[in-house]
């Protein structure tokens, strides 16, 4: 079936089978490999993207059902200019292997957009993003820092 997806501001036209997930469409058809295939069962959060501005699991989303704009980690920044949350993750060393990081960043940006600052709030909001290297303490620190930096960046626009 023919579908149109708005990915990081660009409209993409694809011919997909009904069972193709948004994650597979992104990775295998469009070369958008930021979202990772961890469990492929909606349990690990490595595939987290924003759909219509909200975090969602692209592995449990059928591409044919997507009607709202999709943002992946690629849509947050350019190679020259990282998103404040990406800088915060780097500065806090909030990762080890990095496989979960694109999904962590997408949830972290959504957490910052909601103004979450308390560690408990951040942990609850981010509990659907597993980190098997268990970098959780630095992830929480990065989200707090990235959120305040994001706020400052917005204020200067």
């Amino acid at each position: 079936m023919n579908i149109a997806l708005e990915i990081n501001g660009t409209t993409e036209h694809l011919d997909v089978a009904p069972g193709v997930t948004l994650l597979d469409a992104l990775r295998e058809r469009l070369g958008v490999t930021g979202p990772k295939k961890g469990c492929d069962r909606g349990q690990c959060g490595a595939c987290t993207v924003h759909i219509g501005g909200r975090t969602a699991l692209s592995c449990l989303t059928l591409a044919a059902t997507v009607t709202q704009p999709v943002t992946t980690v690629e849509g947050l920044s350019t190679p020259e200019r990282l998103h404040p949350m990406q800088r915060a993750f780097a500065e806090h060393d909030a990762l080890q292997c990095g496989f979960c990081t694109p999904g962590q960043i997408m949830s972290a940006v959504a957490a910052a957009d909601r103004g979450l600052a308390e560690p408990d709030e951040i942990r609850e909001f981010m509990s659907g993003n597993l980190c098997r290297c268990s970098a959780y303490p630095t992830i929480v620190a990065a989200v707090r820092d990235g959120a305040s930096e994001e706020g400052r960046a917005d204020a200067t626009v």
Partner: protein, 331 residues
């Protein structure tokens, strides 16, 4: 995933043709299709249907006489939106907030949540016998790992728990569910909607072929203003309940006037506890009275090899929920 056809009906009449499996948030259906547990040949993406909105009930598709006295929640509302809506009673908001993860709450709908399938590992594993998935094949949990399974409402054929937190809160608050099928609309109490397994564990609800959940109605939400949901689980977040209790308590002059209580994680369906409610009425709102009433909750419980801990856990969770409400009581 096996091949299937997909359509996207824009009217309810088109959706309820009896030929399609409904796809809303997809968090249960797509997962179980990937596992080959569900293999529907035809799927209808119902997200374009006009089944949204949270607000005063105006009768919906069938007037049950409660119009204007209930809070209506459209079946396609997302869990995260309902969790944050100020008109939704605290027990329901808290049950939703303590469910799943933020991503899943953003995706999953109220209608889909009520119809989610059990998390029993044997149901999800097509290489294992399971009477719910393949009637007559046997129950692997009876002699297998059954730590997470039910102690109430079980049968020799199935001991799987119902996984929804939301349903527990809604059953406690006497919520109704509205349904539309090709024969028209009807309303049923949610508590009557669910079926214990008996010898037909594959039948989980009273849903008829092709029927679609359109709305959930919480009658007299003001009576649930003093309500809560307590969930006990192996992790602090993103985990199903080992045991949970939804309760609404009305205390006047230190005496329980009314209580509505249901438990989750311990039953094959969301488990209303009318015996406990009756035992509480007229009693002082004290820990000792709550503990005495909680004894009634586990009458008839049938623990399995690994889940005997759920019997005292249910009583303690119940007391904790009631104490929380009694301590927060303003009257």
């Amino acid at each position: 995933m096996r091949q299937f056809d997909i359509t996207a009906p824009t009217t309810i009449d088109d959706a309820v043709d009896g030929r399609h499996t409904f796809l809303a948030g997809g968090t249960t259906l797509v997962d179980l299709m990937k596992l080959d547990v569900l293999t529907p040949p035809r799927v209808a993406d119902i997200n374009a249907l006009p089944l949204r909105g949270i607000g005063a009930d105006e009768g919906g598709h069938s007037d049950n006489g409660n119009a204007g006295h209930g809070l209506r929640i459209g079946a396609l509302e997302r869990m995260s939106d309902v969790a944050e809506h100020p008109d939704v009673p605290p027990a329901v908001r808290r049950a939703l907030t303590l469910s799943a993860s933020q991503q899943l709450r953003n995706m999953a709908t109220i209608g889909g949540n009520l119809l989610q399938r059990t998390r029993c590992g044997y149901f999800r594993d097509t290489t294992m016998p399971c009477n719910k998935r393949t009637p007559g094949s046997g129950c692997s949990a009876l002699g297998g790992n059954n730590r997470g399974h039910a102690v109430l409402g079980t049968s020799d054929h199935c001991v799987a728990t119902h996984a929804s937190d939301l349903a527990v809160a809604l059953v406690a608050l006497d919520a109704e569910v509205r349904l539309v099928g090709s024969d028209g609309a009807r309303t049923t109490p949610l508590a009557d909607f669910y079926r214990t397994p008996g010898d037909t564990p594959e039948i989980e609800t009273g849903l008829r072929d092709g029927e679609l959940t359109t709305d959930v109605v919480v009658p007299h939400p003001e009576r649930a203003a003093h309500s809560t949901y307590v969930k006990v689980r192996d992790r602090q977040s993103y985990e199903f309940a080992l045991c949970s209790v939804a309760a609404s308590l009305d205390v006047r002059d230190g005496v329980v006037v009314d209580a509505r209580i249901a438990a989750g994680g311990v039953g094959t369906i969301p488990w209303r506890l009318p015996g406990v409610e009756a035992a509480l009425r007229g009693e002082p709102a004290t820990e000792s009275a709550f503990a005495a009433a909680a004894e009634v909750a586990t009458h008839g419980a049938t623990p399995l090899t690994h889940n005997g801990f759920k019997v005292p856990l249910l009583r303690r969770t119940l007391v904790r929920a009631l104490l929380e409400l009694a301590e927060g009581s303003t009257r």
